[in-house]
């Protein structure tokens, strides 16, 4: 792309094998074990060491203990790209966001334009991959296709940027505008592979809550989280939170694409799950609004704790923006439940921290479970109750952690 005066790629587009990807520069070679494969934990640029599910494209999973902080630090925020061809150098003097298609005046905006010519807005919101926690489907039922994430493909940040609505209004919508397509700078290795292009209805794009963010937690977006611009859709799974956002295209009709109509879809029924037969026998719908969920940040699995300790059990809860009403906890594997104390409210799309003071009186193995309910009565299912879908999306069953008191 001509907007870059110099580009480096995270990956090569040729059949070269992984060793040649970064050429001579990459002298840091990490060898991993094959048996019972555990991904290596390595620091990527601007990141603390995270679990490297893949280096190309980078898929970095956050550790469970980040769920003890209501705002996820940028350097521990998970990373998830889809395509191997990602520019690794961006010159802001040349980078432009194009606004095109069914608009009166196409725009070509620099990051400075966005900062100086539009009203800045801030929102605290959870960013969660649609496939987050996918691996847990296999613990209670049939395995699902896709990257087998634990809970670490989510985080919560303060996003600052410009309303998408304001950008569209500045360009001026033509009367036949119906949909808004967004895409960024990541590209597939082969031209034939579908590009990561996402679409939404015009109403959604104009809602005023969607922002084109240039800051995350008071800093430039980390490179691997989409520098310099990323779309933020509070309350929604992150499939359309396009990174390195470079094009906004207003459309008069919907474009069918793989990443909208096949990937990231679930059965279009009430449970959004497979009741019988095969998943793709169902009419599809794209995943969108997140489901009420809570996770345990401390203790982490298999922690050994001395009897008589006063343990601050804590974690995060959130939903699609209705607001968390209550988070219940069980320390006896689900037999009895108690209330937890909800902490500071950072806004309806943010994490809500919960805390429970626990003083185990007897030695032994304990299973801690948490279950959230939101203000409209959505409650997390138990693991053996959760509706199944072949893509393993939207996992939100009750989280549990085993600990040992000695």
């Amino acid at each position: 792309m001509s907007t870059f005066n110099r580009r480096h790629f995270l990956g090569s587009s040729l059949i070269l094998g992984a060793s040649s990807l970064l050429g001579k520069e990459a002298d840091q070679k990490i060898i991993t074990e094959t048996k019972n494969f555990v991904p290596p934990v390595i620091a990527f640029p601007e990141k603390k060491p995270l679990k490297v599910i893949s280096d190309r494209p980078p898929l970095l999973e956050s550790p469970r203990d980040i769920f003890t902080q209501p705002i996820t630090p940028n350097d521990q925020f998970f990373v998830r790209w889809h395509m191997p061809d990602i520019p690794t150098y961006i010159d802001l003097n040349e980078f432009r966001l194009q606004v095109q298609g069914a608009v009166e005046t196409p725009l070509s905006l620099s990051v400075d334009d966005l900062k100086s010519k539009f009203e800045p807005v801030e929102i605290t919101s959870v960013l969660q991959c649609g496939g987050n926690s996918r691996k847990y489907y296999a613990t209670s039922g049939q395995a699902t296709h896709g990257v087998q994430w634990g809970h670490g493909a989510m985080g919560c940040a303060v996003w600052k940027g410009v309303r998408l609505k304001d950008i569209l209004n500045k360009a001026g919508l033509k009367s036949d505008a119906r949909f808004v397509g967004v895409n960024g700078l990541e590209k597939p290795a082969l031209d034939e592979t579908p590009h990561f292009f996402r679409e939404m209805e015009l109403d959604e794009a104009l809602s005023g809550e969607l922002i084109v963010a240039y800051e995350m937690n008071g800093e430039d977006l980390p490179y691997l989280n989409g520098f310099p611009l990323r779309l933020v859709i509070p309350g929604h799974f992150s499939d359309s939170w396009v990174k390195m956002l470079s094009e906004i295209t207003v459309l008069d009709q919907y474009r069918k694409t793989f990443f909208m109509d096949v990937a990231y879809t679930v059965p279009d029924n009430d449970c959004e799950c497979v009741v019988s037969g095969g998943d793709f026998e169902y009419k599809r719908k794209p995943i969108a609004a997140m489901k009420v969920k809570s996770v345990i940040g401390y203790p982490t699995p298999n922690t050994i704790i001395k009897k008589g300790s006063r343990i601050k059990v804590t974690g995060m809860a959130f939903d699609q923006g209705k607001g968390v009403k209550e988070v219940m906890i069980s320390v006896d594997g689900g037999k009895s439940w108690s209330a937890t104390a909800l902490q500071k409210d950072y806004g309806k799309y943010a994490y809500r921290q919960w805390i429970y003071q626990w003083e185990p009186k007897t030695k032994g193995e304990y299973t801690i479970m948490v279950r959230a309910i939101n203000r409209v009565g959505n409650i997390q299912p138990l693991p053996d109750e959760i509706g199944w879908n072949a893509g393993g999306y939207q996992y939100n069953a009750v989280d549990s952690v085993n600990v040992k008191i000695v």
């Binding site: 520069e25 893949s54 961006i90």
Partner: protein, 104 residues
């Protein structure tokens, strides 16, 4: 303002946004089990992503791996001839999976 992620010697003199010293994208040498035509697997399955994608799946059944390879070919347009697809599926089932009659 310039932001640099992969720094080669040519770029060391430039200004950084948040990056204060030269950085490089780590490269992970994911282990690949040898034998049963792993060279065919390496030839095709590393074009678009690392072997980490495959290792991350854990042990999976033959129908599961067959489905995955078909998805690569049909949806992502992996240019893999039919007979090589079968070789790859057999390799994956043997080294990263198990046989079952049906289901996942």
């Amino acid at each position: 303002m310039k932001k640099i992620i992969l720094l080669t010697s040519l770029l060391t003199s430039m200004a950084f946004a948040q990056v204060s010293k030269p950085i490089e994208m780590p490269y992970v040498d994911y282990p690949v089990e040898t034998g049963d035509h792993d060279e065919v697997v390496q030839q095709y399955c590393l074009i678009c992503h690392s072997f980490g994608y495959i290792l991350n799946q854990g042990k999976k059944s033959r129908p599961y791996w067959t489905g995955t390879v078909q998805k690569m070919v049909n949806e992502f347009k992996a240019p893999i001839p039919k007979e090589d697809q079968q070789t790859i599926i057999n390799y994956l089932v043997k080294h990263y999976g198990y046989e079952v009659a049906s289901g996942h």
